[in-house]
Symmetry: C2
Amino acid sequence: MSSPPKTPLCEPQRPSCENCGSKAQNIICASNPNIPLSLEKAKIPCHFKRDQIIFYAENEPLGLFFVQSGLVKLEKVSEDGSAHTLRIMGPGGILGYRSLFANEPYHATALAVDDVELCFVPKAEILSVFKDHPEVALRLLNHVAKDLRQAEERWVGQMDKGASERIAEALIFLQEHFHSQSWTRREIAEWAGTTPETVMRTLAQFEKESLIGQSGRHINILNKTLLKERTCF
Amino acid sequence: MSSPPKTPLCEPQRPSCENCGSKAQNIICASNPNIPLSLEKAKIPCHFKRDQIIFYAENEPLGLFFVQSGLVKLEKVSEDGSAHTLRIMGPGGILGYRSLFANEPYHATALAVDDVELCFVPKAEILSVFKDHPEVALRLLNHVAKDLRQAEERWVGQMDKGASERIAEALIFLQEHFHSQSWTRREIAEWAGTTPETVMRTLAQFEKESLIGQSGRHINILNKTLLKERTCF
DNA sequence: CTCCAAACATGACCGCCGTCATGTTTCATT
DNA sequence: AATGAAACATGACGGCGGTCATGTTTGGAG
């Protein structure tokens, strides 16, 4: 029973993404060269700064977001207030598809990790793409099926592994996939399913073992192989 | 690095499911009345007894299973040996779709909860259905997107809630959805993400509070409302 | 009915890690 | 450079629940 949130609408900017397919090809546009053309006129560019909300959990999806630049994370806060990062999308990624295709309200909140440029495409346009290009549905089915595996694997991983192992995996994952971003202790904790305090203690331990180096707030992975093999104590 | 498992093949029985669509309509056959006819000749009926393996994690999917009767569960055992029940399918459900559509090996093991009748349809037949009936892909996309929400919700639920709350939810879920089955303490634990011992202690506590009744091995929910509101201590 | 393995049940122990409290460092802003 | 808030860091404490050990009950097979 949370208070009804207000959807922050994309304020339309100058339509500056006429050739957006060229910078970061997303899964839908990549399916058929005609699709980018048909979506072109329907696209609404919008951008968000760090920590701004793109959509709130519980609201109805009105369309699909295409990530042009920056990082977006989907997070779910449980009843006791702790936040969990479910997925992170970068350039070329899409956002809001699960709810749209399940025909359900959003079940998580999307927010900008850093400065983000998106393009919003209304639901009706997406559905017309399905009509004209049936193969798109199969590509998306493939994509969501992979999401489901990742979710189930992280789920059982977080249930059984110790905190230090989860943190080691988080460090490696975030560095390999989203290297550009500098992550806070809290963000690492929300990805690894633990608390900032435990992250810090574990980082100190990893540094003592020369697995990582910490210079100020920056974390440097020194021995990825050993870090990967690190099992929980 | 587990030893390479051997796929138990469906031993073909007499083809006794000519009108299987009538008993439990699955999501694919329900999409279009012509589909059951086209799948009819490709179907291979097979059945399994309690605890028999339908497929093993790591193996490649060769097609899709349609559940005719009985219950099937998907379980994933983590490195430390503990098992987690990811999903349960009953009559009308389908099995093996995530891996097939993601084009990945199975990441979990499927086994019969009780005696189960299935129909196996080879991958090629399924793909030809997609060609003839593009709307099927959208239905499946909808289905997998809902699976993804359920996985992510159980995931964060199991991370943050106390054991007793998770067990209360497990009791309600298993009773509401799969009422016929009598679940063991271990099965409840594997659904709730805990151990049989904790399940038993918690059940004893619930009984003391008159939320449930235990007669022998059978569990009777006496006050579902109170049980649902039960939060972790 | 007899038997036996599996499931059920309960108690003791204890370690991981979440919580709280307190202090320090970093860094953006002016 | 001064300032203040947010992030970083560290210690103490304690409880939830996992693990192990031991004993009891159940229910199916012969």
